[in-house]
């Protein structure tokens, strides 16, 4: 029973890991290992090795190599041996390098001895395939690469005084080449050993690089990257634009204003004419925006042209802030919204409702002069009587702006509406009364001092 369950568990885990490996989108990243060592006396480079799994890009590789070869012109010229295998992956070294305690099976004996006897060693397990190591080396050393066969090295006399870049192509073919990978690697290692011996015989300090042109282990994409299956909220379908900003003298943002809808209506010859100014104000920048800010007053001026038949049309928002001693904090109010059209004025007062602490912004779902008006005409006979101004999703901040986003929005809607509060107060009162009444009734006791259940029943005389 337990064994059966364990077996089932193991099989489930295997299926799961198989699925995981299948569905993990492994990108077909082209990365090869790079091993660099130097036989020069001192250690050449002291770079931090890369983080595990990190694929070294071309620029990072240049950083590594330039620190090794030195960009200073008066550094000693380097002799660089580049062993460029057709294909190599870190997995080859892991598989055939005798790293699991079986040193005798290693196919890289010469490489190992060379690494052990080297003074400096740099191992980059994953270098991006686009890094193109020969080009990078060529660029750093400023010398043309010289392609050689390993056997030809014996005939070449290396000159220590000038830099040299010797490239040895090591075959590691697949397909037509009958040699097993293990044997191929062993053969390449032998060739490397020969080259290193030849260079050592000439007593030339060298730096050797063992890398490849392409990886030999390629993981294919099993699944293409899935198409974005993101879901969006219903409300996120409309375009969201940045708030309107006004900068102060120092170039810092000092006023922020946003609305999802801005309409003005005017009563002309008995009819209400409406104009939607949202697009002009926020999206297409068809408005000339101006403003001024100082410590106690902020003003936002929006100038439109030709609205509702008026040549000039201007909206001015006047805000002010001051310290209110009872609440011991600074509050700002939107005192007035003024419309200037063709020389006439219409002024709305908003100082009663549109307030917030100075460091916060003010937000309200509907700021209008018609329904639940937060903007009222400043005097009963003002021209504002003929205008209706409506902002939807109105948000404004005139003081304490940090950055390009609004501060915390003090909303005009509170958590409990007045209606909810009224209901709560009344219900609480009624509950108290009910509790009191119940308490009283539950402690009623009848007279039982003279109760005697075993005695005779009392006789009440019928007469008198």
């Amino acid at each position: 029973m337990a064994e059966e369950m364990f077996g089932r568990l193991v099989s489930i885990m295997m299926v799961f890991s198989l699925l995981l490996s299948v569905f993990t989108t492994r990108s077909c990243s082209d990365h090869v290992p790079l091993i660099m060592w130097s036989s020069e006396g001192r250690s050449l480079w002291t770079q931090d090795p890369p983080v595990a799994g990190h694929i070294v890009s071309r620029s990072q590789l240049e950083t590594y190599l330039s620190s090794a070869f030195g960009s200073a012109p008066n550094s000693a010229p380097h002799t660089v041996l580049l062993f460029l295998q057709d294909r190599l992956s870190v997995d080859d070294i892991t598989l055939y390098g005798g790293v699991f305690g079986n040193k005798q099976d290693s196919v890289f004996p010469n490489l190992e001895t060379a690494l052990q006897s080297s003074s400096s060693l740099l191992v980059l397990p994953s270098v991006s395939g686009s890094a193109s190591v020969p080009e990078v080396l060529q660029g750093l050393l400023n010398v043309a690469p010289l392609s050689l066969d390993p056997e030809q090295l014996n005939e070449l006399h290396l000159d220590v005084s000038s830099p040299a870049l010797l490239v040895f192509r090591l075959p590691f073919g697949t397909g037509s080449n009958e040699m097993a990978p293990k044997d191929s690697l062993r053969e390449n290692d032998r060739l490397m050993g020969n080259v290193l011996d030849a260079v050592k015989a000439q007593a030339v300090p060298y730096t050797a690089v063992y890398t490849a042109l392409a990886p030999s282990w390629v993981t294919r994409d099993v699944n293409p990257a899935p198409q974005s299956v993101g879901r969006s909220l219903l409300q996120a379908t409309n375009d969201v634009y940045a708030p309107l900003q006004i900068l102060d003298n120092m170039g810092k943002v000092c006023i922020l204003f946003w609305a999802s809808n801005l309409t003005v209506s005017v009563l002309q010859s008995g009819q209400w004419q409406k104009a939607d100014l949202t697009d002009k104000t926020f999206i297409s920048s068809g408005v000339e925006k101006n403003g001024s800010c100082n410590a106690s007053n902020s003003q936002l001026i929006l100038k439109y042209g030709n609205i509702l038949g008026f040549q000039t049309f201007q909206l001015t928002f006047a805000m002010s802030q001051r310290l209110y001693p009872v609440s011991a904090r600074q509050w700002f109010t939107l005192d007035q919204v003024q419309l200037n059209y063709d020389g006439h004025n219409a002024t709305f007062n908003g100082s009663d409702g549109i307030t917030a602490p100075s460091e916060y912004s003010y937000h309200c779902q509907m700021v209008s002069s018609s329904d639940y008006p937060l903007l009222v005409p400043s005097t009963p006979t003002d021209n504002a009587k003929q205008w209706i101004l409506t902002f939807t999703d109105f948000q404004i901040q005139g003081f304490g702006v940090t950055g390009e986003n609004f501060s915390y929005a003090n909303d005009c809607a509170s958590f409990f509406t007045p209606g909810i509060w009224m209901g709560l107060v009344t219900s609480l009162l009624l509950l108290l009364i009910l509790t009191y009444g119940l308490h009283m009734i539950l402690q009623l006791r009848s007279m039982d001092r003279f109760d005697d259940p075993k005695g005779p029943a009392i006789a009440v005389p019928q007469n008198d």
């Binding site: 904090r329 007045p418 509060w421 107060v425 009162l429």
Partner: protein, 205 residues
């Protein structure tokens, strides 16, 4: 601990812990400015206050009257078993308690006649007269309600003592009646003050 004590204890703990948690949240989020009593007083409708006053006027008066009547009534009935002569005379105590309920209903009708419609919706447009009316009516209702409540209890307990004393000794009743008269005067005080409170009420546009 019996169930009742547990219930009251639980309700108290729930109430105070809610207040504590809400207060702490307001404080740590720096949203203390949103705790606005003035907002509550101006945004809640004056009609709520007015009608609460009317309701409390009649209901608290009736509670006082009922309490007094059942205290007196049970004494009269119990005493009347042994001394039936007290029944008729002690009905006067019941009438004193009933008067308290009558004060309450009269005041409730008077106050409810002052409630008029108004057309404002925001604190500005409602106007201070309407707010004053709402709060006055609430205050008057509380005044008459609570004074009648305690008057009724007082008259009831005194009346109960009067009935039992009368059952023992018929000459005691008249003297105790004087105590009862003083007790019922306090209900009248409440009515007078409530009338004064609502004298300046003018609701409407």
């Amino acid at each position: 601990m019996n169930g009742q004590a547990l219930l009251y204890g639980g309700v108290t703990v729930a109430f105070w812990s809610t207040l504590l948690v809400v207060g702490i949240c307001y404080t740590i989020f720096d949203l203390g400015f949103r705790f606005d009593v003035a907002w509550f007083l101006t945004e809640t409708s004056p009609f709520m206050w007015a009608n609460l006053g009317i309701g409390l006027a009649i209901s608290l008066s009736v509670v006082g009257a009922a309490w007094g009547i059942y205290i007196t009534g049970s004494s009269i009935i119990g005493g009347g078993v042994k001394a039936p002569r007290i029944k008729t005379k002690n009905l006067v105590s019941i009438i004193f308690c009933e008067a308290v309920a009558i004060y309450g209903i009269i005041m409730a009708i008077v106050i409810s006649n002052m409630a008029e419609n108004f057309s404002g919706t925001t604190p500005d447009t409602i106007g201070f007269k309407n707010y004053q009316a709402g709060y006055s009516m609430f205050g008057a209702g509380l005044t008459v309600g609570f004074s009648n409540l305690f008057c009724g209890i007082c008259v009831g307990i005194v009346g109960s003592g009067a009935a039992l004393a009368d059952a023992q000794n018929a000459s005691l009743f008249v003297k105790i009646l004087i105590v009862e008269i003083f007790g019922s005067a306090i209900g009248l005080f409440g009515v007078i003050v409530a009338i004064l409170q609502t004298s300046k009420v003018k609701m409407g546009d």
